[in-house]
């Protein structure tokens, strides 16, 4: 029985993963494994996720048109799918970062008061 509903990650985390992927892709087009490695390195394993959950997220981003993909050759000579952030993806990233900042500021304010 295929679970029709989404994964059991919280919405916040899902949004965060999208944001991290988009952020990673601003540097250069990359394949899935490289994206995973990059996120892991940057977050120093704090935001540890199942690496595989990257792929549903990539599918979601492609469906929204924020990311496009193309098959190409990896440095080792193997075929790999390379993901590229689109213009609308960059716009979305900007929006998400600013809203994330606002949430962060709000959380910090609450935590300080406590």
């Amino acid at each position: 029985m295929a679970p029709a509903s989404g994964p059991s990650k919280s919405e916040l985390l899902k949004g965060t993963l999208d944001m991290l992927i988009l952020q990673t892709l601003t540097l250069q087009p990359q394949h899935g494994y490289a994206i995973a490695q990059h996120i892991e390195r940057l977050s120093e394993d704090v935001l540890s996720i199942e690496q595989g959950s990257l792929y549903p997220a990539l599918e979601r981003l492609q469906k929204k048109g924020w990311v496009t993909s193309k098959w190409g050759e990896s440095p080792t000579g193997r075929k790999a799918r390379y993901y590229t952030i689109s213009a609308s993806g960059r716009k979305q990233l900007g929006k998400e970062i600013s809203s994330f900042d606002r949430v962060l500021v709000a959380i910090q304010a609450v935590m300080k008061r406590a």
């Binding site: 029985m1 295929a2 679970p3 029709a4 989404g6 994964p7 394949h31 899935g32 494994y33 995973a36 199942e50 690496q51 595989g52 959950s53 792929y55 549903p56 599918e59 979601r60 492609q62 469906k63 929204k64 048109g65 924020w66 496009t68 098959w71 990896s74 193997r78 075929k79 790999a80 799918r81 689109s86 213009a87 609308s88 993806g89």
Partner: protein
Amino acid sequence: MSLLDGLRHQLRALTSSRSYARELDEEMHFHLSLDAMQREHAARGTLSSADARFAAHRRFGNLTSLTEETRAMAGLSFLDGIAQDARFALRTFRRSPTFTAVAVLTLAIGIGANTAIFSAVNAMLLRPLPFPHPERLMKVSLTVPPRLGDPARTDMVWSYPKFTALRDAQHLFSDLALYTDDQSTIGSAGDVERVQTETAGARYLTTLGIVPSLGRNFLPDEDLHPDAPRVAMLADELWQRRFNADPQVLGKTIDIDAKPFTIVGVLPPTFRGLSGRAELWTNLMSHPAEEMNEAWSHSFTLVARLAPNVTIAQAKIEVPRLGVIVDRAYPHPEIHNEHWGAMTQELDNTRIDPVVRKSLLVLLAAVGLVLLIACANVANLFLVRASGRRREIAVRLAVGAGRGRLVRQLLTESVLLSLFGGICGMAVAWWGVRLLDAFDPGNALRVQHLSGIGAVTFSDIHLDGTALAFAASLAIVTGIVFGLIPALQSTHSSFAGALKEEAGTGDGSKRILTSRNILATIEIALAVVLLAGSGLMLRSLDKLLRVRPGFDSGNTLTMRFNTPEGYGHDSLPGFFDEVLDRAASLPGATGSALIDCPPLNGRCNGTAIVFRDQPPPTPGTEPDVGIHWVTPSWMSVMHVPLVRGRNFTRDDRSGVQKVVLVNETAARKFWPGQDPIGRPVSVGQGGFWKDTAYVVGVVGDVRFGSLDSAATPDVYISYYQSPRGRMMLLLRSAGDAGALGAPARQIVREMLPSSPVYEMRTMQERVADAMRYARFSTIILALFGLVALGLATMGTYGVVSFGVAQRTREIGIRVALGASRSELLRMIVRQGLALAIVGGAIGLVAALAATRVLRSLLYEVVPTDPFTFAVILAVLVLAVLVASWIPARRAATIHPSEALREG
């Protein structure tokens, strides 16, 4: 363009789902192998490659569920689900082959019968007429106001002068033309045949939008005045058959009714004229002026094409105004205050007689009911099965399957089942269409003059794309209809209850039992409606079969042939005497006679009658009578009884006192309580209008119209007193009348080498033809009624035997406590009877409302006929008793210990 990118992405995933899956798989394995490599490398030999792969997998997560999640994201899970459901459904079907077979068969009958009837409705009522822009074609008719005893008519045909009056005054139509259909003898001595013809104006083809495939249409010159050059066009079939498709046929001469016509064109293969069966077209204006210029000789149908800027509504308003113009040009010569008019209607509306239209719609409704019953039956089967699967479904609900998901699964099963039913139904439909064709209702319609415009015929009925699409959508809708109830029902009960259920006495089973009862009740009610309809039709057919047409149809042969050229009043009797003598002396023949128009012909000649011993009536208000020419031998050949007076003799000939015979209806109507013998009358035909003829005898009524219309007042003229050419030869035989056909044909061939014999049929065939359409629709309706009864019986049986199975333990206890077998039988049969009573009562009310539409199709049976209703209720109760008796007997023989152990 992000939206577009996204859409393109999703579209690709959906349209090439296989390569999508492969690529995703490839991508994930690329990821895993890269990670494993990386780990192995980082560990510098402390990690085996297998361990590295394992670690990579762990880091990656559940490959399968992530793949599924990604596919779900791409919108592919829905398709996956359908395929999965379908596979699951197929597995369950294999596990229960009996259930599957019964359900598929039931649905096949329902869907197949519906498709067959739909094909008929499509061909006869829906499919556009086979001409360009058929919706712009109109039929224009003359209207006649009501007269004493005669209703108003709105379908009067035209005379040529009246047509010209309309044509010259109108601006509504871009094209309009007269036509009429007839039969003609073509060819010359030794090579003659009888063909269907149409006589038409030059604008006939342009009105219909038909262009000759070879040669040309009639020219304006050939359409202008009577006595125009004689020209003809051939149907493709006649051209192939008689002229070997020779293109040099143009310009050749063909003899039509012994007059030479020049062939100017050949028409496209599919075109057979508005009569639907013409093989030859002659120009209207080839007729002589004295025939064409008679304003009160109405014999042509007027077909017209609307001008581009004119709407149908406008035409319907304007044509009556044109009718006034025609009436002013040609006022009634005798009745000065009688004004004829004109009206128009869509040609499409005249395509079929209203009676046929109605009976087709009745059949469609009936077959729809059959399908509903079939649905109820299969839904019931599903419910039985669902109760067996209750635990399975409960378990699946318990482990977290959504209710929607389960409903979808069950619906997939039912739709799949009905698709199978639809496929098998195509075989039923194919057979059904052939059955329709075998009845040859088209010919029957023609015989009874019900055919409307012949371009629409039953031979057009076939299973085409439209019918296939109809069947497919029917199958899907059917699947949802009968699947939804059980699906909702069986997923409704709380799983805890179902899991706890052991003896099948829980809440869920009761509810299922109730909806099963409701379904069975509906089935019975619907079956009652169908049975009532078919019962009434059967009773009507029975009455029709019992109609005494007034003559003995056994062992009688009828045939027509042309009379020789140049024979007139003086020489015709001699010629026919020889034919009659030779025919009567054939071995096996016991008598021969002539009559101008055979019984049950649909219509025969009619005219006015006046009574010379009474003051003359206002001209035009004289009563109508049927008029028939006969030889003295006709009474003995057709076995028509002489009631009073005398028969004609050979001496009632030209030059002596004119005499007539009348039938009993005429005697009753015109001389009630008096003796008609010796009364002086004049009739408007056969040269009997100016002279006075005396009634010499009264004969029994003969139905010349149809079986279901009572005899009209008829007057007979002695053939020898008013000889004429077109007569029908009647031959009575001591044995098989058909055996006289060949020798009789031989006599005609010897005497008249250039005249073909046609309309050779036994009188029994004519009687059968007259009943063919009634028989056709009745048998089909009865068939549906029978199927409905069978299905409803099956449904009842299912409910009762299911109830018995559910109550096995209870029954066992009852037996153990000393209940007698007969008590048990009664208890269970009562359950079935309750269904029959409730369903029967509902059905009775519905049937009384529904059968009213049959009124115009019934002969001497009222739609509420108590006899019919009593019989069908008795049949129903009997069927239900049998259906519940079988499981009841089974229950009554249950051994208590067995029952208790089983429970």
